[in-house]
Amino acid sequence: MSFLRTLHILCFLFCVGCNLQSNAQDTTHNAVDTNIIDSVHVDSSKTTFDVKPTRYQLQKEEFTFILYLISSELYDDALYALNRLNTDSIANPNMQDSVNYYIGWIKYFKQDFHGAIASFSAVESSSVVVASSFYNSICYIQIDSLAKARYVLQNLDVSSDAKLDNLKILQLRGISLLERDFTSYDSLSALSVERSFITESEMNEMTNYADLMRSYKRKSPWIAGLLSAIVPGLGKFYAGYRGTPFGAMYMTIPLGAIAAESLIIAGVASLQFIALGALFGVFYVGNVWGSVLSVYAKEQEFYEELDHNIEFDLHTPVRRAFR
């Protein structure tokens, strides 16, 4: 009987010891997951614990479940669970960083870039800090904060990893192009980088985009205006539009014909001609002015399309690298 009692006391002390050890790990913010005594096991219908689990163990179990939600593409559920977990005081800094990272990633995936930036910025020191910085930079690019995107990358030290260094240079090159800073782009292009499957095709694309930007020559707004003054709509055709010139033609030429007819029949001083002539004049001048502006609009469209392609080519390798 006394033997059993002793055994019982020993078992109790062992359990208390396990708890104390786990608590100590919580309080000392031990970053290594594998150091935790994992006394959690799952049976057929419920999760039970052999000993009273620590908060960290429970949070770890919960986090594992959240990873399952993410891998199952149940993003709404995962975000809800992550936010619930985040409201709890997470003692382990690694886990806190992971929670922030995944909240950021889901928000990024849902295109809530401001929310994603807040979460990625909260990542402090764990293994996900590099991925967070890259995603943070992408999010800043998406909200047109290019200086902040550049700042995030410049403060990121990945010199020990050639692939990530390559990725960082690609991102910086992309940002330079988005800023139209060709000096910075050229200095980054001059850096020798290792070939990497993560960035190779996008690096080539950046070179193409840079060449396209450099070779682009805006059409003359004067010529566009002059052409439209001669034949309504022709200036827009010259600017590069192929559909809208005909729309301008269909409106302006018939109006001109009607005004001309009223001039011939009713005379220059007639009210009819004055009204129709004024109407035609408004359309005619508007068309000429529109052709002048169309040159700038076409230029803007050209750069917007390139910017869109650059942003896409900056996203892809980051997702490839941190899949």
Binding site: N19, V42, D43, S44, S45, K46, T47, T48, K52, P53, T54, R55, L58, Q59, E61, E62, F65, Y68, L69, L74, D76, D77, Y80, A81, R84, L85, D88, S89, P254, A257, I258, A260, E261, S262, I265
Partner: protein, 292 residues
Amino acid sequence: MICILPFAGLSASPTELVFFRSADSLRAAGSIEDAIIAYEYEAYTATNNITRTIALVQKADCLLEKGRIEQSESTLSRLNYFGLSDSLQYEARYKSALYSYLNKNFEESIAQFKMIQQFLPIEYSINSKPLYALALNETREWTEAKEQLHTWGKYHFSEDTAVMNDFNDRINETYQVKNHPKLKDLDKAQVWAQLLPGTGQLYSGYFFDAAFTSIMVLSGIGIAAYGVLVAKYYVTGILLGYGVFQQFYIGGQKRSEYLANKRNYQRKRAYNDQLKGMIINFTKNKKGPVND
């Protein structure tokens, strides 16, 4: 149903683990969002398909409660029916069909009903037939819907011949081919609109629309004729007249097609709503048909 989920109320000390709640109790307490996650957790930790199925069905119910019908449907699309009892399989498949129906995914709903017919005994599949008929109505398979209702009626009203005959008569009468909505031919509406502006709309039953189009097209011709023949403003007359004519002639063709579509939808909706009312009345009172 036991599920311990490390979520609700978890705070500073492990001694507060008592706050761990089961999915069912979360749901009963009105914490539906928490219950949704808790049921998913239950499915995640389940080591057999039965527990997993029950959890996912409950999760789908919670999602429906929150008005997330699409997610309800997608949750049930994750079910694996292997190894389930007939009753559980029926419940899962029926809810899957119902949520697809509510999500207006009628083809998927019908597919699920066909599975019920194929894999489950008649005692189960018979009760799904009214909803099956409703889904078939939506895809305009009225003849098949009628057959399904006859089978259902035969099962429920067989003890009383008079009631069954009455039921069959009502079904036959309502589902008569001559009662099926006469749907407008979109091509025909467009051809009519091309031949004689306004008749396309008239074909679909929109008289004022037809009259307006006709008047505007005639006005275009009138402006041209007046300009050329009376006012001697040839260019103005032709250009203005052609402008008005062309806008309403081309626009009338597109509008004819749109109105034919609208009319088809209205007729189908009205007929299906009538059928829906009748079917719901029958199912409410299985002893016999009631007046609509």
